[in-house]
Amino acid sequence: MLTPQPMKHVRILVLREDLPQASLTLADTESFHPDPRQPQEQQLTPLQDCRYQKEFQRARSRLDKIAQVVPVPEPDLSDIRVVGLDELTETNAWLGEAWNFCLEHQEGFRELEEAERLLDEEEAALANFAELHVDLGMLRTKTRFLDFHIGVVPRENIDRLRGALGLAGHLLFTYMERGENAHVVIVGPTGEKASELGSVLTNAGFQAIPLPQGLDDSPEAIRAEQRARRERIERERADLAEEVETCAVDMRERLARAATVLVLAEPFVTLDPAIRSAGHLACIAGWVPAKAVDDLEQRLGKTLPNAFSLESRKPRADERPLVPSVPVKHRLLQPFALLVKQYGTPRYGEIDPTFLFTITFLLMFGTMFGDVGHGAVLALLAWIFRKPLGRFYLYGVLAGLSSVVFGFLFGSVFGYKELLPALWMSPLYDPILMLQLALGWGVFFITLACGLTIFNRFAIKEPMAAVFGAHGVVNLLFYLGLVWGGVSIALTGSFGLIQAGLVIGSLLALAVYNWFHLDAAIGEKILVVLIETLETVLGYISNTLSFLRVAAFSINHVALMIAVLTLAGMMGAVGHVLMVIFGNIFVMVLEGVIVTIQVMRLQYYEGFSRYFSGDGREFSPLRLRRRPRAA
């Protein structure tokens, strides 16, 4: 669980005609991580013919867009088969037609929206005119000398439009502003500059509001006419929606087939950067977990019609940064793996910190948030909301259970001490002991982190860094000497000669190492060595003290609950119950968040920053996309 899964570099030589089948088989095994590096053989060059890739990209993009309009069924992967260029081209062409159909209907919906918007504007305009008591018939009909335009223009264009219309001999009046639009009346001489005016109005985004016929009718008649238009728009929208639905049902089978074709074609396209070829021969390179190599060879043997060759070797030392690390797959560790991933991916060869992270996280969370009731509520809520929380719900359940366990140790149920006998003691009974234990935990945690750092550096073949580097062997000796000296002072009143020798000796060793590894002037060297040595001393002391927060928060949790119960005790029966309920909710929410942040801080800053580089590559094997893409 701690050590990384051994990987092998694999090179597969196949005939070019077998490439699609080889890609499919590799994807089906889900154990091949492509390596796009250029091989040493100069004759091997990238594939020149990109038609397959182009057709695929186009088709994939079309299917994704279609999925935003109509539901696309899941692909049928019962028959894993090679998709040829002809089939892919035909699928792409059909998807093009399907997308055009969707586009036309989307355009239809937009036109209806536009008509509805214009109707709204028209209603607003007529309501406005009604108050002005003007004869609207005059505005609708052109006169012999005057031309009228009534409509809406984006407000930000008004000023320029007014200037431009002025040059064309027209006047613009704004009579109402609604949202981003202004309602305007444009008046000018008839005929002379009609095309010029039309061009300016188009550029300015002017939309004419058609004034209805029969404006001298009663307001009820006009309103009825508008209502009829609105109903017509609704009807047309419903018809269009029905048409889309019918077509979606008709297209369903074909869409499923297209989705299947694309899923089967995808591995070849994804693998493309890792393929090199020379004549009829093609070479595919990648990384495979060592235990999966034999299975992969057997599967290729069964599926490829022609002969092939598979060579595998251990990763070279210079390739370590490129080798992908297989993530931890245990279900219980998944939510914690997500938190580790926020910091980075372990480099190949390094210890995967997920397991240690999980254990130490739960221990610290439980200590700082120890209460049977609060833990049970947290676990229960995470369980109830497991669907929206996804894999992360397990984090809530485990953290809650950890709180329950520590709640039994501390004898606390929703802050009440008398309901359960403490299996150990309440943190507030002996705060000094709690602080001492927290310090001890800090020393253990930092020592463990340094130990992992040393292991990781040896694992990636950097012995000098393991001994003299930050948090290496010499640093650890210094730290242990310092801790030993501190314990001696507490017990005997003196630091002790051996301890002092250990501390001074290791600091001198670090200073000498830094001195010879610095490329600078003497003055600068002295300054840097002095500051770095001082930083080492201060850093370890402050980092250890940082763990006092574990005890501080466990005491704080008890103190907060005492405050809640004291306040409740000062109230009447109803006030008591309300205070206990809301006080507990307040403590759970506030402390739950703060404790999580504090534990994360200790993990990332005091732990990961020492032993976890986080600059590795995650193992991401070629695989068939079993589910359709999310819209």
Partner: protein
């Protein structure tokens, strides 16, 4: 950081960077250099030495030079307050608009997506438009529909309506450019620091004036648009060519009359300019003089930063023209013309001179 402190920091940064701007005689010296020496001088040796066509190399050089400019911009905008940063980034958004126009032209002409992609610039996140979704569209109308759902919604709606009526890119691109300058003018007006605003009115105003003169000449006398159509495409400037002056200028019916009606110093600058290229060259030099004066004696940090970026952009464009001329093997007079070392003349005049 206090206002005085951030101005001091910005001024120091700008002063440090300004030492790399070209001085008098630099261009003449670069003209004497061959391609390898130019590559070495501007850190482009690797690009120029790699195998590939002149077009591919030229493209890589342009991208590398733009990267230099945008990296400097990223450093300079760091200490600015949000309004100042917004203005400088709005200036740099011209590169994102190049991409948008390339995408539009490509989709209108139904070019191969790979070909379009090869012609797009790789931009930093501050100025980038999210082109990935835009890239997936199949035609110009679909592209504009997609833009309508983003920050360019108003522009895109108008542009689509224009495009649906006329099926050509001119009105679309004119609207994009018009909006680009109008946005900068609006941002200048919103600056709270009066010193910065004064300096920016001059600097951004000069940029807008330059665009207005060129557009006025091109739309009015090149494309024969009416005064009202021309006026609608222009942007009232906070410096010389304000709204009333533009209204006056678009009504004039030939180029000499327009030049004679321009305010000083534009009138004397453009007198006898002859053709649009020469007008463009002289306006470019005038813009550089204003930017230099802003850089040397400006009081506002952000004003000096923008002046530096304008000058740096002009310098890098010269480097690009020079290298492109070398890559394409153009005759010296053409290169001199592109570098602005000789007055722009018509082709037949050039042939006579050659």
């Amino acid at each position: 950081m206090s206002s005085a402190a951030h101005n001091a920091y910005l001024n120091t940064r700008v002063a440090g960077k300004a030492t790399q701007l070209f001085r008098a005689g630099d261009i003449e010296r670069f003209v004497q250099l061959g391609l390898p020496e130019l590559g070495q001088q501007f850190g482009l040796g690797t690009i120029l030495e790699e195998p590939g066509s002149a077009r591919v190399k030229s493209r890589a050089v342009e991208q590398a030079l733009m990267q230099v400019l945008l990296e400097e911009l990223t450093v300079l905008i760091r200490p600015m307050d949000p309004a100042e940063r917004g203005l400088v980034v709005a200036w740099a958004r011209q590169f994102a608009l190049f991409n948008l126009k390339t995408l539009l032209r490509g989709k209108i002409r139904q070019l191969d997506p790979q070909e379009i992609r090869e012609n797009l610039y790789d931009l930093p996140p501050q100025v980038r438009l999210s082109t990935e979704d835009l890239f997936r569209v199949e035609n110009a109308v679909e592209l504009l529909r997609l833009l309508e759902s983003g920050p360019l919604s108003l522009l895109a709606r108008q542009a689509r309506e224009i495009y649906e009526k006329r099926q050509e890119a001119f009105a679309l691109e004119a609207a994009i450019d018009q909006r680009y300058y109008a946005d900068m003018v609006r941002r200048v007006a919103r600056l709270e620091d009066s010193t910065a605003q004064r300096q920016m009115r001059m600097l951004v105003g000069s940029l807008v004036d330059r665009a207005n003169v060129l557009w006025l000449m091109r739309f009015r006398f090149g494309y024969q648009l009416s005064p009202s159509e021309t006026f609608y495409q222009l942007v009232p400037s906070p410096h010389l060519l304000h709204r009333e002056r533009l209204l006056e200028l678009v009504g004039l019916d030939d180029q000499p009359k327009v030049i004679a009606a321009l305010p000083e110093p534009l009138r004397s600058l453009l007198a006898d300019a002859g053709n649009l290229m020469e007008i463009q060259r002289r306006l470019g030099q005038h813009m550089s003089r204003i930017a230099w004066s802003s850089l040397r004696s400006g009081q506002s940090g952000v004003g000096r930063a923008l002046a530096y970026l304008l000058l740096r952009e002009a310098d890098l464009r010269l480097v690009f023209s020079l290298i492109q001329g070398r890559l394409l093997g153009l005759p010296e007079p053409y290169v001199d013309l592109a570098l602005g070392l000789s007055p722009a003349i018509c082709v037949h005049q050039w042939r006579e001179a050659a």
